[in-house]
Subunit: 250 residues, 6 copies
């Protein structure tokens, strides 16, 4: 079996760090680094909801995703200059939004909306997964601020959510693809999971040849183990930001 | 367990039919009906490839997706009038394109591109899955024409591909969601499979609460069984169109 | 005199058929076929009017037009992907809307609007004319539904309206141009008429050389005769859909 | 019979004047005034043709139309700021382009294109007609310059073309509608004619009720007479600009 | 020292004329000519303000800028057709708007907005400056109309404002650049001044090499002298339009 | 005289730091902090020039500017989602581009282009000035890389360029406006200067009342002194990145 380009073991995550407070004006923010991937996540609270939700007493959580033009090896054109967001961008921001909404109690949030902006400063594979993992921290801090300001009685958050990509490469099934692996993997899958092992989203794609159920389950097992340090990093970042263990999320 | 709104058994597909030749000018076309969902798929062959592939001797397969404004219960605005395709539209057409490409031997196709247009005439759930299933027939017929016209020596097609959606509903895990089920399911997943059981794409989404690995595997099992009649319908449509069993696809 | 490419007599319409109910969710729909041209017309009723009409107690009727990318010999780019509707599309949908409005009693309709979507599934010349002819049936059925649901006391419809194109070709003045004739005619004209011979719209264009008043009147005479079977097909389709002759339109 | 709002006789044109050379950089230009309507027409010659014509040895003539925001009673939004040209604008510029092309010998022009920009400085009805009448002068002068510069051996122009609108109003059939009449006429029609009476374009629209063939022919007769002074004004403007009667246009 | 291309003295303005009333529907209008530059300025009064000002009892003044496609040596594409205003256009219209606002008492105007459209009919350098100078006249006349109609008790105008460009050329520091000078100057600066010498806007740009404070002050001195005839022309135009000296602007 | 909101002396810059290498893929990058304003500048080298420069043997330097949605107190909509860059954005990126080009020897650069992306991560006033100051460092490093890789024989850079804003506030003329001051200043001006005191760009704007020449010169004097530490910070950052004093810039 060929070794991985990075020399990592098949089940090894890259180093993860989450720094909070980088976006000084945001209600909650997290600068997440997963290996060479670096994303600034900023949560904004607004006391109104999109038209389709008005008057229902429920809140909304959504996400937007962007990449600085030179976050990548070669410069990508600025979407604002092109006049439209690419299909890839829209697909990713819809995924991040769904993933975060899945663990929020929208009724308990009330008629407020939270937008989580995820902007990639440096890209080295796995940006959508890192955006979800970091986005949860930004969201968590913004919700905490609502509790501390007595806008909400309790955190309307049911679980932690984090994500990781796995793939079938020449090194076999591996965890946490970097850019080199991502661009050559025979198949890859993104897993969005809760800290209790619940599945929030699965996206698996055969790039070159169909894969088998057994292969898919191997990737899922890698992801289940691989998200453990992500959940720990989330909790550590929240603790550091709030000066104490966060209130239990039921 | 609550029965399904349609009264179908949990593992029952809706009636499927595939009519070929509806788009008279297209190199291959298929009008697929899955219950109340009706999609016109038309394949166009062009002897050029996108810029990023030029000079590599390889072909390309892509898809575009649209919905007539009144394919749905309430009229949806026309995307051409709005001036942009929605994120949903782009996500779906990227999925269809990837799914079809996964079974095409792009090197054997040579520097030609095939665009499969999938336009929803009537919608009742499962449009992206039906588009893949019908799109394969349109693609197959267009490729056959290239073989008959001696542009290609053999069909550059590795497998059949078809898709179905499954979901966790009040009736438990069920096959082939219609609109009523799709809009209320706790989770749903789209499975794009080959006729030999290979997995091409998996997209699973928890709408309300995370789901377990066991639940996910129940959905996959439903899909594996549920695609059997889809593959049969594809073969029957191709046979009817070509007047004889199609050449073996290796 | 050269014969027509299709072998038709100069004053011969192509076969016409109108099938209702194809768009299952629409308040009224008609799939019209005129020779190889095939258009799905779907009428949508909404209980609001555009801003410029609000508070005047009058209704509105408008139309939108689109063409599936592969309705034509060579694939046309999807307008939704290009981000704008072409001048041709806008010109046609404005014509359809004006033609239908001309026979509706907007005051009797009240503050409701009806949008008639006309989507070309297969194109072989005369699409704007077929869209008007089929669009009237969709509109008629949608209005009938409002009468049956007692939203309206009577049909707010003054007349039938149908359209046909005529042209000066190498075969002389001819009725109902197909694509081959349309692309080579020296002049062509679209006539939108009522069943009592009233003129709703005339659009005549010299493609290569100016034409004379006498030539123009020859085209008008062809159109007057040529629309007779169109009005009959409209009445037959409405009768078949409603199970009885429609109430008199004054 | 009610008199016209302007007091004009039913067959009276408004005063017409055409001033050349206003757009100093253009190869040909004409500032046309028809009553209170004032349009600056400027012709630009470029030595290339649109892609669909390349290599055919033929030229192209096209037109663009715009209206200054405050050419009208109430300010209209600037199309450049809205990001799209309205359907009305596109319809009008397509009409102007077709009308001018109909009298140009495109083969004799060779692989050059002429764009005639028609910008409405003040609007009081009939802008599309005045744009055609003035546009012909700008085009004529630009072609003359090509002849004087020996780029072309002779004027590739077959005829003069001018346009006028007529309508059915409370004063009966009338010539040359101004804004007040245009907005209340029961029907109106634009006639694009050559100086020998040939018909280039006819666009007739029933705004409120269908009209009869006899009514239509009355409008056409008004237009035939009404364009006589327009052709004279065109010739006078060209003579004044070129210092001598123009060469015969065959 | 090389002479100027036009032969003008370094401190010589080109001839200036301002004709009012050209845009017949506008509340105020001015056609300004500065040498070969010709701009139609039209002011529109509307009794509403942009959202960010609502309910504050204050008015708004803004400007829009456009250039006819053939105002220039070579034809420029129509921004409405391109679907977006260029950065240059937006920069200029923002400058005009700020310059006019700076001399208006927005509180005294009350909740009304005035839009000044500046459309370049012929361009020969200095269009943004001429637009400001002419735009002030259009604005002044529109405000006067509000006073005469007793909508306002007094003119909410604090000063006259006019603008001129100066530059460092091969002829040294010169006043009022024309196109030839503008495209080759080493540096140029636009000065927006009041008739009492106050500075409203300064925009100085080194095109090829940085310039010194002394050079900059030489340009400012030219501008201070050069705007004197502009202010006189503004007053003469207003006097001519209103038939008497305008009321004092405090 | 009122003290400044920040308590700073009128001629006090905020703390400045410049960190290089943050954008790991860029040919040169600088993360500049000026007080609470934080901008990531990344330079990209490409071996082609825009169409208008092709074949002239000269290079090009341009800039793009963006702001993360939550760089500000309240979230700003994402320009990529709106489909257009604002006038403000375009104005700023044109200013940055001109400022950098003014100190580059484009002929010595040869047919290459350098794009400097300036993305605001946190905003507290003065973003366009900080972008110029930081952008120069990114550009300098990218050019140095071309020299080290022997693509260029020497640095094609004539000077350092940096920028600062000054304004007339309740505290009198002050240096380096922060957000609070910027939004309430009576006038403000941006000065783009070289380290030898040359003026590259001046933009002065009276927000409420015209200002005098003396006031303007006071602002310029503040800027001349205030840019001294900016030039020092640029040199320190370049030295730190390159491990030695940079080669002399002539």
């Amino acid at each position: 079996m060929t070794p991985r380009p990075s020399g990592r073991a098949p089940d090894a995550m890259r180093p993860v760090s989450i720094e909070t407070g980088f976006a000084r004006h945001a209600e909650g923010s997290a600068l997440i680094r997963v290996g060479g991937t670096e994303i600034l996540c900023a949560a904004t609270v607004e006391s109104r909801v999109p038209p389709f939700l008005r008057g229902q007493g429920k809140g909304w959580v959504t996400a937007e995703y962007g990449m600085l033009p030179r976050a990548t090896h070669t410069r990508g054109g600025r979407e604002a200059a092109k006049g439209r967001q690419s299909g890839r961008t829209q697909e990713i921001q819809r995924l991040i939004g769904r993933s975060l909404r899945a663990v929020v109690d929208l009724a308990a949030l009330g008629e407020m909306s939270i937008t989580v902006d995820c902007d990639v400063l440096n890209a080295d594979g796995g940006t959508r997964c890192a955006a979800i993992t970091g986005g949860w921290v930004a969201l968590r801090l913004a919700l905490d601020k609502l509790v501390r300001n007595r806008v909400l009685a309790r955190l309307p958050l049911r679980a932690q959510v984090a994500a990781v990509s796995c793939g079938l490469t020449q090194a076999g099934p591996v965890l946490d693809l970097d850019y080199d692996e991502d661009s050559t993997a025979a198949a890859d899958a993104n897993f969005v999971l809760t800290e209790t092992g619940g599945i929030v989203e699965i996206q698996g794609t055969a790039e070159h040849a169909p894969f088998s159920q057994a292969q898919f389950e191997a990737l899922l097992a890698l992801a289940q183990a691989g998200t453990v340090p992500l959940f720990a990093a989330q909790r550590a970042a929240v603790d550091a930001a709030l000066g104490a263990p966060p209130p239990e999320t039921p």
